[in-house]
């Protein structure tokens, strides 16, 4: 851990907003100093489509965060996401050939390296290599095999990788502002880092980050990461569905979603309720049946959560601490109820853990990723010698 007083900055370039979290290292945790955000205009489905606009938006968010925290931001930990991000559990075998058959740290490294090299397409780069556990001969579930005696070491490793060029695009956009990217992290894991307590990880928990462009998930069981991934489906799809279904422009659909939307269908007493949209220049006054709006939205939200449930599969049984929702989508009315029905587990909306700072910010699920990125930075201080993209990738995260 770096010395006290060091500033760490998490930067999330999301589909709906760019968010910068500035934190200070404190003994035993981090303290949030400031938060800046800007509406994101150059990102779709978590991936950059307009690098110029993205740079502008990052600049605005960084300026706001600098002002609030009263610090100068020179470097940041960048979050990456998108449908190209994948998490896979891999096994790496390493035979122990040393004389005493005692497992050395180098053997462990080799086993992990062997696992890491597997199954990653040539155009992808590894973002995280996270150790799960090891098997020494037939002895499974070894947390740390160093010093044990055996002939065959098998590492179980969760490898998170993504397409190199797309990650590089994000890094370039930040660099164009003369900011140093200290490291990159997968947004789904950063959110988990922010909202989970060690007890929850120990018991087993699923974190679902419902973003505007991307829905990410991360599943912990027995204190290690068991799976993670991302789908390019999110709040934008809800808005788009509403716009198509009710035949209104996207801007109005977004407003309507925030003001009257819910993840559940309309209750019996709301069934005949009408929502009126005031006339605006160029747009006529409209009344819309609430039931239709809810029907459209609930279908999409249910489907998105079902997608996560299917991806996680039977590992859901590991989640004795239930499901934690974060991201802007976690603020949807009735989402907890729907998620509980789909996952058949207790569901809560995430609150940032182990970070001190303004309560109103920590309680907002949509800031979890940026704060988690700052926390990721606090756990893994930057090495000033390593500044190239290749050396950035391949971080450890536990």
């Amino acid at each position: 851990m770096a010395e006290r007083g060091t500033i760490v900055v998490g930067l999330e370039v999301g589909t709906s907003k760019v968010c910068v979290a500035v934190a200070e290292l404190l003994p035993g945790g981090i303290g949030l100093l400031g938060l800046g955000q800007a509406r994101s205009r150059g990102v779709r489905k978590g991936e950059i489509t307009d690098a110029l606009k993205v740079s502008e938006d990052i600049r605005d968010a960084v300026a706001e965060a600098e002002q609030m925290a009263d610090v100068e931001i020179r470097s940041a930990f960048l979050g990456v996401t998108g449908a190209h991000m994948r998490g896979e559990t891999q096994q790496g075998l390493h035979p122990i050939v040393s004389a005493g058959r005692e497992i050395t740290p180098e053997d462990v490294q080799d086993a992990v390296q062997n696992a890491r090299a597997k199954g990653v397409p040539s155009d992808h780069v590894v973002v995280h290599t996270i150790r799960q556990d090891f098997s020494v001969d037939d002895h499974e579930g070894v947390a740390n095999p160093e010093g044990m005696v055996g002939s065959r070491l098998m590492a179980h490793v969760h490898v998170v990788h993504g397409q190199g060029n797309r990650i590089e695009t994000g890094v370039r956009a930040v660099k164009s502002l003369q900011l140093v990217v200290e490291n990159v992290a997968f947004n789904g894991l950063a959110s988990a880092l922010a909202v989970l307590s060690p007890q929850q990880k120990e018991m087993g928990v699923l974190v679902v980050d419902l973003g505007a462009g991307v829905t990410e998930y991360a599943l912990y069981g027995d204190a290690v990461l068991r799976g993670c991934g991302a789908f390019a489906v999110g709040g934008d799809h809800v808005t788009n569905d509403i716009a198509i279904g009710l035949k209104i422009p996207l801007g109005r659909a977004e407003q309507l979603k925030v003001s009257h939307g819910a993840a559940t269908r309309a209750r019996a007493d709301e069934a005949d309720e009408l929502v009126s949209l005031a006339a605006e220049p160029g747009l006529p006054e409209r009344t819309i049946p609430l039931a239709q709006l809810r029907l459209i939205q609930s279908a999409r939200v249910e489907e998105t959560l079902e997608l996560v449930a299917r991806a996680v599969g039977p590992s859901l049984d590991l989640c004795r601490a239930g499901v934690v929702l974060c991201g802007g989508g976690a603020r949807t009315r009735g989402i907890v109820e729907v998620a509980r029905r789909i996952f058949q587990l207790p569901v809560t909306v995430g609150h940032v853990q182990g970070v001190s700072g303004p309560v109103d910010i920590l309680g907002h699920p949509e800031f979890a990723t940026a704060i988690g990125l700052a926390r990721f930075g606090a756990m893994r201080p930057a090495d000033p010698r390593k500044r190239g993209i290749l050396s950035l990738l391949g971080g450890w995260l536990r």
Partner: protein, 447 residues
């Protein structure tokens, strides 16, 4: 010389010989012959006979194919069809006996042709018909012209495709326009055409391997026939390979990004998918299994048939060949909801096109326009006897009520504006396009 086959000895087969293999490739027209060149010569596949058919004697002479058929009667003097499908068709009808000789006894016949010009468009369907009459499973492989080739060729191609579809069991389409997506911006014309031919021939070769190699999970004639016979579908053929360690990954990614599959969209819409993996002896089975699993996840409701075989010469390489067919015997929607403005514009063009190919005469409810067809430069349609005409109609498998218009409308090769998701990759998961509103996909009524 009327309708005679010229079995010019080039290579092993001597004069007068006929092809004997179960598997035959009939390359019709210039485009077909060019593509088939890749199947002849050094890279020739054992057990596959290549027959070049053309109305142009000089083009035929340049071909390396071991068997050749000159289409056309003496009156055509061995010249080409000059881009006129009517002439192409007439020349093929005149040489029908020679073509029959070439397809007799075959089990699978590929008809390679380029649609849009004369011989391929006109003669391709006739050749396909002959092959079907001979009892073979007929797979037409047709290139569609580039959009810049103009409306005349586009119109020809569309009608040719309809005819080929009704004559062949399956038509595998190679839309040239799509090829542009995979070639370099600076690619020269020969490179682009080579790429198109390469994509076409890779697929044919892959299919051939799938059928000819002893399979571990066998995919044979019977399976293919059961899925494809008589369905007259439009299909696409995609081929990809992978080598090195993440070979399954590489091959699957390449396959899913294949230009003909429309970014995976077609897989999601397909109703029958045939997927075969041919792997070298060094390829672990888990790679094949992984590839199958991933591709199947992308096939929506399709009936998926899988096959695996091992080819000793391939070492650590792995090839995937995929045939996805859409639509099948289901009637074409009058105006598919997905039909784009561009498509309807094309329809308008087709109907107002001043050139009628004369081929419409065979189609019972497409009103023939004799006045136009017998214009100064356009010779009249071939005079078919009543029986011949009846036979063509029967072959086409469509009664007068079934058929509506000769329009290609099932495949969506242009994109409609995707609003908020413009400039992004479509989110295709489990064979569904998640960018389409859920309530539409799940058919939830809003009222």
């Amino acid at each position: 010389m009327n309708g005679t086959a010229t079995h010019e000895p080039s290579g092993t087969p001597g004069p007068g010989q006929v092809p004997l293999q179960d598997f035959r490739v009939l390359a019709v027209g210039r485009a077909g012959i060019h593509a088939a060149e890749l199947l002849c010569g050094k890279e020739a596949l054992h057990g596959m006979d290549v027959v070049a058919c053309h109305s142009d004697v000089s083009a035929l002479a340049g071909s390396a194919a071991p068997f050749k058929v000159r289409l056309g009667s003496a009156s055509s003097r061995g010249l080409g069809s000059g881009g006129d499908p009517t002439l192409g068709q007439a020349s093929a009808e005149a040489s029908v006996e020679a073509v029959r000789g070439m397809v007799a006894g075959a089990r699978v016949v590929f008809v390679l042709c380029g649609l849009g010009a004369g011989t391929g468009t006109g003669a391709g369907p006739v050749v396909a018909r002959c092959a079907r009459e001979a009892g073979a499973l007929v797979l037409g492989v047709a290139t569609l012209p580039f959009e810049c080739e103009g409306r005349l060729r586009g119109g020809h191609a569309r009608r040719g495709l309809e005819l080929l579809k009704s004559a062949a069991d399956v038509v595998l389409m190679v839309p040239n326009q799509r090829v542009l997506e995979v070639v370099d911006e600076r690619a020269t014309a020969p490179e682009v055409f080579a790429a198109a031919n390469g994509l076409m021939v890779d697929g044919v070769r892959g299919l051939w391997r799938m059928l000819m190699r002893p399979g571990l999970i066998r995919l044979d004639f019977a399976t293919l026939e059961r899925l494809l016979r008589g369905r007259h579908t439009e299909s696409v053929l995609a081929w990809a390979e992978g080598s090195g360690d993440p070979r399954a990954h590489v091959a699957v990614e390449a396959l899913l990004k294949h230009p003909f599959l429309g970014h995976g969209r077609l897989l999601a819409e397909a109703d029958a998918v045939v997927l075969s993996a041919v792997a070298g002896t060094d390829v672990p089975f888990c790679d094949i299994e992984r590839a199958f699993t991933v591709v199947q996840q992308h096939c929506g409701q399709a009936q998926v048939v899988l096959g695996t075989s091992v080819e000793p010469g391939m070492g650590g390489r792995m090839e995937l060949t995929l045939v996805a067919s859409v639509g099948g015997t289901a009637p074409l929607p009058e105006a598919a909801p997905g039909s784009t403005p561009a498509a309807s514009r094309d329809d308008a063009k087709a109907s107002s096109s001043p050139v009628d190919m004369g081929l419409g005469a065979e189609l019972p409810d497409v009103t023939p326009v004799p006045g136009r067809a017998s214009g100064a430069l356009v010779p009249p349609a071939p005079q078919l006897t009543v029986e011949q005409r009846q036979r063509v109609i029967e072959r086409s498998g469509r009664g007068p009520g079934r058929r509506r218009r000769a329009v290609q409308s099932v495949f969506e090769f242009d994109f409609v504006s995707r609003g908020r998701f413009e400039k992004t990759e479509a989110t295709i998961l489990d064979g569904q396009d998640y960018d389409v509103p859920t309530f539409i996909r799940k058919r939830i009524s809003l009222n």
